[in-house]
Symmetry: D2
């Protein structure tokens, strides 16, 4: 349970098949046991007036990155669903790509919980734009 | 502080100017002191494989409905920003419009907090698809 | 699934056996399908300097009231455990008893979710001191 | 803003004066910029049947540790209050002392947000018993 069973290419291929509407907006930057890093390619669809990334775009990135971190550990389980997400908005994101570091804190048979730190691509994890805690239920 | 200062038409006009990308996806169904009801016109953009409304679409509706409930009480304050949102996903939404009932629990000078109940348009508030708690900060 | 299977007396007897350290601090005021109301008998143990009810006391009341609302619907299941609680603190509580109204939004076979509104006994649910969302897992 | 202004002894003295009811249950293990580690001395008051640490005790430790991390950065501000706490319960705590690592993610003039990881004293941060996100408001 401490090794990944899917690598970044396999995970991205799975995303492309399962979520074709969003896969092109996203890239997998890193996969390791119990963690994942993903990137949101920021474009007009993700922006709000004032040139900032929208809340739903932040949520999308957190949700998918945590999902990918789970799949890397347990394999392809398309039915795994989000049951809770708590988002804290910390700073106004710059008008650029967002990065997200997901961390699994408990990989249970029924529930998987952890958190995500989101920051601007030219910024630093020390100046996060948002923090999310996430719980997924397994079928 | 217990009367609305903007009506549904004025609020929707404000949304159209401030958030032109999303206003056409949304309708204001009802405005009353400390509450608002809005509708998400569900189309292909909001769906996930399996024919269900996506998490970011649910978040968008909750966020905007709570924002509109605040503006109805305090007037046009475009700088008011979300600081926290906690989403609990309860049931799989049907492939149809979503309704959202927002309720303000504390209208402070600095922080405004409350919650939102979201349900399918042909369903009932007794079978919600999601519940959200929201905190906004005023400038 | 819409009727209670335990009444207030049976539920309080169960609390007294399972949680003898806390049962005497609490009273069950009302039980109805999918809801419960409980009271915290406020004394020195629950106070903070400044004469306000402490955060952990607020959490205790919300947690137990939601638990009792669940047991009223499903019967005695001592192993049911809290998996998530989100607390929003809205107003400073008065130095007096607290009331809590719990509401179940989804009574699932594995997860039960809902929320709680907490207010001072001489106050009103319209001026809540705190709001909690709660998720319990069933064994 | 990246240096501490109070050390562990000064912080503990402040706790003893402001919160005499709880200070003896707690110890400050470490203070560093934007972080703090504290210990809950587990005794009968903190236990639940089955020999596990209670939810309100977990909340108390998270709340105080985050508060101490803030005070270390900004000095004595007794009026700083919790506005939101989101608790995820991950594993059943052992019947022993609990440790808590608090981390400030945003030290704003009005709001301070971050998170806490809680684990058993003989355990490891890799097997946390709970995770908390916390937001405090400054006066």
């Amino acid at each position: 349970m401490t090794e990944t069973v899917l690598d970044a290419r396999e995970l991205y291929d799975f995303l492309t098949v399962e979520f074709p509407q969003i896969a092109d907006q996203l890239a997998i930057e890193n996969i390791a046991p119990m963690t994942a890093r993903m990137r949101l390619h920021c474009d007009e669809r993700h922006l709000r007036p004032g040139g900032t990334v929208s809340g739903p775009s932040i949520m999308l990135l957190a949700d998918v990155t945590f999902y990918v971190a789970i799949l890397a550990m347990i394999g392809r389980e398309a039915l795994t669903v989000t049951t809770n997400m708590n988002l804290t908005f910390l700073r106004k994101p710059a008008k650029e790509d967002l990065l997200c570091d997901a961390r699994i804190l408990k990989l249970g048979r029924r529930l998987v919980s952890g958190d995500c730190l989101l920051y601007s691509a030219s910024g630093s994890p020390d100046k996060p734009v948002a923090h999310a805690t996430v719980t997924y239920a397994r079928p």
